[in-house]
């Protein structure tokens, strides 16, 4: 997902810079791709995953 959303963002930027993609489509694509890229990058480089825990119920 990280590669896909990152590539989509870069490709859209290049297409927009070359006037091959309208600004509105470019911005619409970034609205979808940017959050996906942020979260998938974090999930990729985060520390080792553990089992699910119960919610915090106080000290």
């Amino acid at each position: 997902m990280m590669l896909l959303s990152g590539f989509a963002g870069i490709a859209a930027t290049a297409l927009w810079a070359l006037n091959l993609m309208p600004l509105l489509y470019y911005e619409g694509l970034l609205v979808v791709a940017f959050p996906l890229f942020v979260l998938s990058t974090g999930l990729w480089w985060m520390a080792r995953q553990r089992d699910a825990d119960i919610p915090f119920l106080g000290y």
């Binding site: 911005e27 959050p35 974090g42 825990d53 919610p55 119920l57």
Partner: protein, 280 residues
């Protein structure tokens, strides 16, 4: 465009760091470095992350994506000089997202935070009255038209100062550690975001940075007009410093008092706008 989006995220986080620093200095504490919120964002993104057993998995993750997505959209709408109503619609969407954050986790603290975010929607009402007053003068809700109006008639902050104050109060209600920050009150641990830790919290930090930048940019464009880029950044810092003074010197209100004060502000604004309408 994407570089400006990334700049907005980091500068927004820097503004939140300045906010924390100024509050700390007013309270005679050393406070964190101004880049602390940026470090926070990176720190959370490296942390081990999972979804609580009691959470609604789809909603738990989706709200983070939606939170970043709506403020990315808001950023582009302001840049394009789009409608003020869409920006305020996104404000309202953000309330629903906060609610979703709280309810999706299954944590009682998150749920209370989510419920309070709905209560604090009262802070949005002065916004609509502000819109009405702006429309009286500019005859348009488009940010580009409002900027064009100000180039001819001068900054709106001088024409309708009380409306600018109402909008300022809305920004106060969005700032952390403020008198209206009932969704993040300490008795709720971290409120609606209690269970969103690690990568999810990093996403929320990015959303907060972007939100702060968009709110301040909208305020400057609507009430001061188009200014050079460097001046806009300086004005953002100055506004944040004033917000920090308000947040440092005013105690956090109880939910009931918070809504009461915001409703009173709305009432004053309605009378003010009615007076403006009558005089025009």
């Amino acid at each position: 465009m994407i570089h400006y989006l990334l700049f907005a995220v980091f500068f927004g986080l820097l503004l939140l760091g300045i906010h924390r620093k100024v509050i700390a200095r007013i309270q005679r504490r050393p406070g964190p470095p101004v880049w602390q919120e940026i470090l926070h964002m990176f720190k959370f993104s490296f942390k081990s992350t999972w979804i609580p057993q009691t959470a609604s998995e789809t909603l738990f993750v989706a709200v983070v994506l939606i939170a970043i997505g709506i403020w990315t959209a808001a950023f582009f709408i302001v840049l394009a000089g789009g409608s003020l109503l869409i920006i305020f619609g996104i404000y309202m969407l953000h309330k629903i997202v906060e609610h979703g954050f709280g309810l999706s986790s299954g944590s009682p603290y998150g749920k209370f935070g989510g419920v309070r975010s709905v209560i604090s929607a009262a802070s949005e009402i002065p916004l609509f009255v502000s819109v009405a007053a702006i429309t009286l003068f500019t005859k348009s809700l488009s940010i580009s038209d409002i900027i064009a109006y100000q180039e001819v008639s001068g900054p709106l902050i001088l024409v309708i100062p009380l409306v600018a104050v109402a909008m300022y109060m809305v920004i106060v209600s969005k700032m952390p550690f403020g008198p209206f920050s009932i969704v993040e009150s300490k008795e709720l641990v971290s409120g609606y975001k209690t269970e969103h830790f690690g990568v999810w919290r990093a996403g929320l930090e990015i959303c907060n940075g972007l939100k702060t930048y968009v709110l301040l940019m909208t305020f400057i464009l609507v009430f001061i007009g188009a200014v050079p880029f460097w001046l806009m950044l300086v004005l953002m810092v100055l506004i944040v410093v004033t917000l920090s003074f308000v947040c440092a010197l005013c105690p956090m209100l109880s939910p009931f008092d918070s809504v009461t004060v915001q409703t009173l502000i709305t009432a004053v604004m309605i009378v003010y706008v009615a007076l403006l309408w009558w005089l025009l």
